[in-house]
């Protein structure tokens, strides 16, 4: 009996570390959530509250202004051209990098990330130096009466520049992991290149591809810096939604700015939800493959 008591006395102190671990846990969670709250959640919440502050009517009024609608239209056009362009490029680059070995391959792999590293302003500057009035192609373009800078083509180029790597970056690791066995099997069975891609490769990479497209789209619709430099931000002409936000804010039309911000924030929320769904899907597939 005495022994048991002794043992119990020895055991009880271990309850204290467990409790202290609980406190550490609560403390760490509080600090983490608090930090996220200050930097992320409160500012994000603020967009929605400011947008709906005066009710729905002024919000809808702002959203039905011609300038606003034109900005929405322009944002959609830029994304509609830049996203498919970079999707095709991303697929080609991923395929070439993972399935073929050629001189300059390592260089291309390392260069692929450059658009992410470059400041968007510098990206825009490069395009101005190339296509602007005093740029390399300036004279030629002027003679042909083609306007790229301060016009839609320049904005599309800028959008495509900053979103260039997304699809390739998402697809490359999956292509590498899947390997070439299935494709080679299909080829020995007589499938053509195109058939192999369509029937074998694409089903394998579809989620990664979709993920890359979603990221490309989010960035394309939200790009500010590069588009701002090449567009000249001419109201009602070359103003996309992100540019509208800044311009309205600078003109002290905070309400209008938050109306546009609301739309872009909703786009961000949709992007995050789709991203989460895709991540869950790939996780489930991985589990299936493992078992």
């Amino acid at each position: 009996m005495a022994n048991v008591e002794k043992l119990a006395r020895q055991v009880t102190p271990s309850a204290t570390p467990a409790k202290s671990r609980d406190w550490v846990k609560i403390g760490l969670i509080t600090v983490a959530v608090g930090y996220l709250g200050l930097v992320l959640f409160i500012p994000a919440l603020n967009v929605f509250i400011q947008a709906f502050k005066k009710g729905l009517a002024p919000l809808l009024h702002n959203m039905s202004q011609p300038v606003f609608l034109h900005a929405v239209q322009l944002t959609l056009i830029c994304a509609l051209i830049a996203v498919p362009l970079n999707t095709v490029f991303g697929l080609c680059a991923a395929w070439a990098i993972t399935r073929h070995r050629f001189p300059g391959r390592a260089f291309v792999v390392s260069v692929l990330d450059v658009p992410f590293a470059i400041s968007p302003v510098v990206a825009g500057l490069m395009l101005v130096l190339l296509y602007g009035r005093n740029g390399w192609f300036g004279e030629f373009l002027q003679n042909q009466d083609i306007k790229i800078i301060f016009a839609l083509p320049g904005m599309i180029l800028a959008t495509a520049f900053v979103t260039l790597p997304f699809v390739a970056r998402e697809v490359i690791p999956v292509l590498e992991e899947v390997g070439t066995d299935q494709e080679e099997a299909a080829r020995t069975l007589g499938a053509k290149d195109w058939q192999v891609f369509w029937r074998v490769t694409l089903p394998n990479i579809r989620w990664a591809l979709l993920y890359g497209v979603i990221l490309t789209n989010a960035r394309a619709m939200g790009e500010f810096g590069a588009v701002s430099v090449v567009s000249g931000n001419i109201i009602g002409k070359t103003q996309t939604l992100p540019l509208y936000v800044e311009e309205a804010y600078k003109q002290y039309e905070t309400e209008a700015a938050f109306s546009a911000a609301l739309l872009l924030a909703l786009l961000a929320v949709v992007t995050l939800v789709l991203k989460e769904i895709l991540e869950r899907k790939t996780r489930i597939e991985e589990v299936k493959e493992d078992t």
Binding site: V33, F41, A44, F89, A93, L130, A218, P242, L272
Partner: protein, 283 residues
């Protein structure tokens, strides 16, 4: 350029046969990169070289430019390091603990990737301004957050937040708990276990995340231009200086400072690649 498809390159021997072996996708990749990336890059270099070495150096090291690099570099580094600490903590909490709303919080960490930067700038400027939700708490003490260098730092913290969390999370998730328990049972204190066992393998991903966040913060324009007052020598950052030079049609000036920024970005990119290689060797 005549025969691109590898299929047609089989029978006859031709000195240019190796060209035909190159796959169509490779041609598309190279052409697209050339038009989108190499050509604009070459235009930047060519423009910078027209200034001549002396002219280049004079603009690149003018007092306003030096101050802009300094503000950009120091503020971005501070923001990246702050996120290095808190990002690791957030990753730890998300991997090791269970608590309500965890999945939503985890997903929301990516918000800065998805939210357009001008929206981020707008809402941060509002929240941290003198009559904003958070700014008004500091205003009575005479502390101004928005439209100062602190504001720039806040915007940089926002946009570089997800990097460290997302680089640390997978490594932490794969770490074997047995090793920690072994350290404990061998008599290591909690602090020792963390410092000697948990932290070393986490260092490569933490530093990679810090470098990625730093690269992003250095180049950031949208959110910082809105939350800063953009006053030279105070809170004017290099990307904004490039933009202002362009607005004044000073293309040479914009090019020189832009090139300096570009070089800095490429150096960081090389560092990131080295860090990632180091991380792979660890794993």
């Amino acid at each position: 350029m005549t025969a691109i498809s590898p299929r047609s390159a089989t029978t006859r021997h031709n000195p240019l046969d190796w060209l035909k072996q190159i796959h169509l996708t490779w041609w598309i990749t190279i052409s697209y990169l050339s038009i989108m990336l190499f050509l604009p890059g070459a235009a930047l270099l060519a423009k910078a070289s027209t200034a001549g070495w002396d002219g280049f150096w004079k603009v690149a090291t003018s007092p306003i430019a030096i101050s802009a690099y300094q503000v950009t570099f120091v503020t971005a580094l501070g923001a990246a390091l702050l996120n290095g600490f808190f990002g690791t903590l957030i990753a730890w909490v998300l991997i090791r603990y269970d608590f309500p709303l965890k999945r939503i919080i985890d997903a929301a960490v990516d918000l800065p990737f998805a939210l357009p930067t001008s929206v981020a700038g707008l809402t941060l400027a509002t929240v941290y301004s003198e009559n904003g939700w958070i700014g008004s708490l500091f205003a009575p003490f005479g502390i101004k957050l928005a439209f100062t260098r602190t504001g720039v730092a806040i915007a940089m913290v926002f946009i570089s937040l997800p990097f460290v969390v997302r680089t640390v999370q997978p490594v932490l998730g794969e770490m074997e708990r047995d090793v920690e328990e072994a350290a404990w049972s061998l008599g290591a204190s909690k602090f020792q276990t963390f410092w000697r066992v948990v932290l070393p393998p986490l260092m490569p991903p933490v530093l990679t995340g810090v470098a990625l966040g730093f690269a992003r913060a250095v180049g950031e324009f949208g959110s910082t231009v809105i939350i800063a007052s953009n006053t030279p020598f105070v809170d004017l950052i290099a990307p904004v200086l490039v933009f202002q030079r362009l607005e004044q049609y000073d293309y040479a000036g914009a090019t020189v400072i832009g090139l300096m920024l570009l070089i800095l970005s490429l150096v960081i990119l090389v560092c990131i690649n080295l860090l990632q290689a180091w991380g792979r060797r660890y794993g």
